[in-house]
């Protein structure tokens, strides 16, 4: 994050991002509408647009949901995440246009209030094709609205990061609702296997990427946990190395950490990012105060830990953002002995300075190869 706050609000990357986003959505809508009109000149325009916007929003939601796990699998995709909130707001707006057209076309001008009609006009009758699918779309749109409305950092600060994060986890619920919306809706009418295949393919892609990414992360956590457990329980061989028997835990070797980067370890169930820079080691909580980005996948840039998601920065020793910014993350006390990093699992208050551990560059290499 640069010191000039306004330049962070609108920068070249965000403009590029939004240009691609708007261009992609426009291309989608034009392609769908023009082709439908050419193939089926008798189609009702409103319904053509309902379909263009409904499917566009649904496809965009798939893309949004895939960005997260893609970035966890390969950080090179991180630029796709940078301005994802604009993609989310766009998805809501497209969904809103779809819903508004539906209400005008299918519900307005009848003997029932048009919004009420979404809920009462398809009475349950025990058959699958009779399941009212429109309320699913309504509640999904409501979630997308809440997310879009609270997407600004103002809300993030006011709702507190955990509340905001849980609110935004509802996107998975919205996605599930939309899968039901199309399964009990258009799939019951359009008999084409292409539609069934497309929904199934989307579902498998979203679920598959999340499972693979989650599995990898869990494996990484478990490996550090087991290492700690093993070394804690069978302390004997390395008891001498442990500086004092004062609760510090052997986290990793100095040589395991690339310069200006971090290694993420899991201590007492919490992820800690251990950074190495300029002959020093510092440890901070892995959770960025902005949107819970993984700080340990970040890098030291201009002397500050820089979050891989949106570039928020923290000083490695204090966990505090450089002025004028106010974000702070908890720090951890560290020690280096014989080329190994020991971390105390109890976090210091956010923003509290923890003395970085110095290490001997040359010594590191020899100790590292000896361990």
């Amino acid at each position: 994050m640069g010191v000039n706050y306004t330049s962070v609000q609108w920068n070249r990357q965000k403009k590029l991002y939004d240009a691609v986003l708007v261009g992609g959505v426009a291309a989608y809508l034009v392609a769908f509408s023009v082709l439908t009109k050419l193939l089926f000149p008798r189609v009702t325009d409103e319904i053509m647009l309902i379909r263009a916007f409904g499917t566009a929003a649904f496809v965009l939601l798939h893309i949004i949901l895939c960005i997260g796990p893609l970035c966890r699998l390969n950080p090179r995709f991180l630029p796709l995440l940078y301005n994802r909130r604009h993609a989310g707001v766009t998805c809501f707006l497209i969904g809103l246009i779809h819903a508004a057209l539906v209400v005008i076309t299918y519900h307005a001008g009848s003997d029932t209030n048009p919004i009420l009609s979404i809920f009462v006009s398809s009475p349950l009758n025990g058959s699958i094709s009779g399941v009212p699918f429109q309320p699913f779309g309504f509640f999904a749109l409501l979630i997308l609205f809440l997310m879009a409305a609270t997407s600004h950092d103002f809300w993030l600060a006011n709702l507190s990061a955990p509340v905001w994060k849980s609110l935004h986890m509802l996107v998975y619920f919205a996605y599930a609702l939309l899968v039901l919306h199309v399964t009990f809706g258009v799939l019951q009418g359009e008999g084409s296997p292409v539609y069934v295949g497309a929904v199934g393919f989307g579902l498998v892609t979203v679920l598959g990427l999340h499972i693979v990414a989650g599995f990898r992360e869990a494996k990484a956590d478990v490996s550090t946990e087991t290492m700690n457990v093993l070394e804690g329980k069978t302390l004997t061989p390395r008891a001498a190395d442990s500086p004092l028997n004062d609760g510090f835990v052997d986290a990793c070797a100095v040589a395991d950490i690339p310069e200006n980067r971090a290694r993420i370890v899991c201590l007492s169930g919490e992820r800690v990012a251990i950074f190495k820079y300029e002959g020093k080691i510092s440890a901070v909580s892995n959770v960025c105060q902005h949107q819970n980005g993984p700080l340990g996948e970040g890098k030291i840039v201009f002397g500050c830990i820089t979050c891989p998601w949106h570039g928020y920065q923290y000083q490695p020793d204090t966990g505090a953002s450089p002025p004028p910014f106010v974000e702070k993350v908890p720090t951890f006390n560290v020690r280096v002995k014989n080329g190994r990093v020991f971390v105390h699992p109890k976090p210091n208050p956010a923003g509290a300075r923890a003395e970085p551990a110095q290490f001997e560059m040359v010594g590191t290499r020899s100790t590292a190869s000896q361990t």
Binding site: G2, I63, T105, S121, S127, S129, T306, A368
Partner: protein, 270 residues
């Protein structure tokens, strides 16, 4: 060389920097091209695979004038004499020769049927009305309003009006559609995606029709009425847009086919 994990490339993306590192830039450019290709491919595939859009017309924005005999039973319709068709009718001519009248179903704007009370005094009278034409296949309909229907001087020759001809008890399988949307106001206007709209239309008085699709040959449309010939709008709502089987007495009245059956005997199939 320091021993560091080599799988971590040292390139690092910071959104607020003007330009991304070349390696990251390349990956992202490929990803963006893939996403944009998807944004063109998906709509093409989805648009081409649509199956339910038929050939129907709603002449929205165009009003025409029609003259004929107004009928309110079983649902409001207008009989417009066809020029040059033999006025004398036998059972033979009713069944097999072109009908002497073209039949236009009459409905109101939006999701409503014509207000029956408002047009009751004109039942069986010669009228002139203006409205918007809706048609699909052999079926024609006019969207109009009671205040747009004016009585004519002419008295119709009631003897030449089509008589009911019983075609016997039959069991038919089809879908209950709202005639207004299906005949052209909405296309596609059938099955589950359109169900709520169809229910609102039928609830609002648009004539409910049993659409019987035939493998070879045009679809058949039967106006649904109760066993004693009354409108059944409110009784059929649950089964709209579903495959149903109805057993009842079929009768022909000019171009109209009418299916008389008690709605509680309708059966959902499949």
């Amino acid at each position: 060389m320091e021993r560091v994990p080599t799988n971590v490339s040292d390139e690092f993306y910071i959104g607020w920097e003007a330009k991304a590192a070349p390696g990251i830039g390349k990956t992202v450019r490929c990803a963006v091209i893939a996403v944009l290709a998807l944004a063109l491919l998906v709509p093409v595939v989805l648009a081409v695979s649509q199956r339910m859009i038929g050939v129907s017309v709603f002449e929205w924005g165009t009003q025409k004038t029609f003259s004929g005999v107004l009928q309110t039973q079983p649902y409001p319709h207008l009989l417009v004499p066809r020029p040059g068709v033999n006025e004398k009718h036998t059972l033979q001519s009713v069944l097999f020769s072109p009908a002497m009248f073209s039949t236009y179903h009459l409905v109101a704007p939006w999701k409503f049927g014509l207000n029956r009370a408002a047009i009751a005094p004109l039942d069986g009278k010669s009228v002139t009305l203006k409205g918007t034409l809706i048609y699909r296949g052999s079926q024609t309909m006019i969207e109009t309003k009671p205040e747009w229907i004016r009585p004519n001087e002419k008295t119709p020759n009631s003897a030449s009006l089509p008589q009911s001809v019983a075609l016997g008890k039959q069991t038919l399988t089809g879908e209950i559609v709202d005639s207004k949307c299906f005949l052209g106001v909405m296309n596609p206007g059938q099955l589950t995606p359109h169900r709520a709209c169809a229910i609102r239309c039928i609830s609002g008085g648009v004539p409910p029709v049993l659409l019987v699709r035939q493998k070879d040959g045009p679809a058949i449309y039967l106006l649904l009425v109760s066993a004693d010939g009354k409108a059944v709008n409110k009784q059929v709502l649950d089964l709209v847009a579903e495959p149903v089987e109805i057993t009842g007495e079929v009768e022909r009245q000019g171009e109209l086919l009418i299916l008389r059956a008690d709605p509680v005997t309708y059966r959902r199939v499949k």
